[in-house]
C-alpha cells in the first residue's frame, strides 16, 4: 500500500505538533490564571482592585508578582502563537512568515519585559 504513496512537495513545517502543544498548554494554564486574575480584580474587597492604593497593596504579597509575571508570559505566548496560527491560515509566503515570526518575537519579548518592569515598579511603590 505504501508504494502507492507519491511524494508530494514536502510541506512547510510552519506549524507542527509542538506549536500546537504550546498553544493548548498555555491555553489550559490561562483558564486557571485568567480566572484568578479576573476574580481578583473584580471580587476582592468591596469593589475589586480599583484604586492605585489597592493595587500596590495587593502586590506586596510576594506570590502575586511571580504569579502575574507568569500569567503575563503565558498570555503573551498564547495570544501570539494563536495569532500566528490565524495568519498561517492565510498561507503567507516564506518571506512573510519570517517577517511575522520576527515581529512576534520582538513584540513578545517587549511585552513581557515591559510588563515585568511595570509589576516590579508597582511592587516597589509599597
Amino acid at each position: 500500500m505504501s508504494a502507492n504513496i507519491q511524494s508530494v512537495s514536502t510541506p512547510r513545517s510552519g506549524e507542527n505538533s509542538w506549536w500546537y502543544l504550546l498553544k493548548i498548554v498555555t491555553g489550559v494554564l490561562l483558564v486557571v490564571l485568567l480566572g484568578i486574575h479576573l476574580v481578583v480584580n473584580h471580587f476582592i474587597g468591596q469593589h475589586g482592585l480599583l484604586t492605585y492604593a489597592d493595587i500596590v497593596a495587593y502586590y506586596q504579597n510576594p506570590i502575586i508578582p511571580i504569579m502575574e509575571i507568569c500569567f503575563l508570559a503565558v498570555v503573551v505566548l498564547h495570544s501570539l502563537t494563536g495569532l500566528r496560527g490565524i495568519l498561517l491560515d492565510l498561507k503567507p509566503s516564506r518571506t512573510i512568515l519570517q517577517v511575522i515570526d520576527t515581529f512576534m518575537i520582538i513584540v513578545g519579548v517587549a511585552a513581557v519585559t515591559y510588563g515585568t518592569w511595570l509589576i516590579l515598579t508597582i511592587k516597589s511603590r509599597g
Binding site: 508530494v8 510541506p11 512547510r12 498561517l88 491560515d89
Partner: protein, 242 residues
C-alpha cells in the same frame, strides 16, 4: 398519484471568462425527487447550456456535490421536499474552494491528487470500514471481503471547511481522513505530511466537514484521531531517545 410542486431553481451560472450570476428557472417537480433531478430537468427541458457534474445518482460516485441554499449537499440524495416548499426557491451553487469549470461543475483535481498523495484506499477489507451501526447480523468470516471505501471523494467537506477557504495548500478533511483510514502505523511516511502546517493543525475544529459529509466518513473525528496519534508518537519518541 405523485404530488406536484412549482418551484424556482436559482442556478449559479458562469461561462469561462465571465463573471458569475444567477439564472432563475420555474419548474414543476415532484417534491420526492432529488435536487439533482430538478437541475437535470432544467437542463433537459429548459436550458441546455447548464453545466453540472453527475454520474451515479445514488451517492456512490460523489460527482454531484453542490451548495444548496448555502449548505453543501450531495444533490442526488437531497429531497426537494427537505430544502424548499411548494412555491419556494432552491438556490444551487458550485462547491466552494474548487475552480469552476462552468456553472455548477467544478474541477475536483486538487482533491483527487491529494487523496492519491496520502494513499487513500479506494477499496479495503470490510471490517476496517468502522461501521458503528452495523447490520443486525453479520457472518463470522466477513474479514475476507473487500468493499469500496466510505469516502466518495465528493468534496463537500472541502467546500464547507472554513480553513480550506483561505489556505490553498491545506490537505483538507477528506484527505486527512483518508490518511487516518490508511493508518500512520502502516505508513509512517504519512506522519510528516499530516503533522505540518497544511495537515491536521490547519483544522480549527469547526466540525463542518462531519456535518456535511453524506457518506459516514466523519472526517473531524478522524482528524482528531490523527492528532492524538501524532502526539503519542512525538511525545513517545522523546522518551525513547532519552
Amino acid at each position: 398519484m405523485s404530488e406536484k410542486w412549482n418551484i424556482t431553481l436559482k442556478v449559479s451560472r458562469q461561462k469561462q471568462g465571465e463573471a458569475p450570476h444567477f439564472d432563475e428557472y420555474k419548474i414543476e417537480v415532484n417534491p420526492d425527487e432529488y435536487v439533482l433531478d430538478a437541475v437535470e430537468r432544467v437542463w433537459a427541458f429548459i436550458d441546455r447550456t447548464v453545466c453540472f457534474r453527475h454520474a451515479c445518482h445514488h451517492s456512490t460516485c460523489g460527482a454531484c456535490g453542490m451548495r444548496v441554499n448555502d449548505v453543501e449537499k450531495l444533490t442526488c440524495i437531497t429531497y426537494i421536499r427537505d430544502v424548499t416548499h411548494d412555491g419556494g426557491t432552491i438556490k444551487v451553487e458550485p462547491l466552494r474552494n474548487f475552480p469552476v469549470v462552468s456553472d455548477l461543475a467544478v474541477d475536483m483535481g486538487s482533491l483527487y491528487r491529494r487523496l492519491e498523495s496520502v494513499g487513500a484506499r479506494s477499496v479495503l477489507p470490510v471490517p476496517e470500514a468502522e461501521i458503528e451501526r452495523s447490520p443486525s447480523s453479520w457472518s463470522a468470516d466477513d474479514g475476507q471481503y473487500i468493499r469500496l471505501a466510505d469516502c466518495i471523494e465528493c468534496g463537500l467537506c472541502i467546500s464547507a471547511c472554513p480553513a480550506a477557504t483561505t489556505s490553498k495548500d491545506y490537505l483538507g478533511p477528506a484527505v486527512l481522513a483518508g490518511a487516518q483510514a490508511n493508518g500512520l502505523k502502516r505508513n509512517p511516511e504519512l506522519m510528516n505530511l499530516v503533522d505540518s502546517e497544511d495537515g491536521v493543525w490547519r483544522c480549527h475544529s469547526a466540525f463542518e466537514c462531519t456535518a456535511v459529509c453524506p457518506s459516514f466518513v466523519d472526517p473531524a473525528r478522524r482528524i482528531m484521531d490523527l492528532r492524538t496519534q501524532i502526539f503519542k508518537e512525538r511525545v513517545g519518541s522523546l522518551f525513547r531517545k532519552a
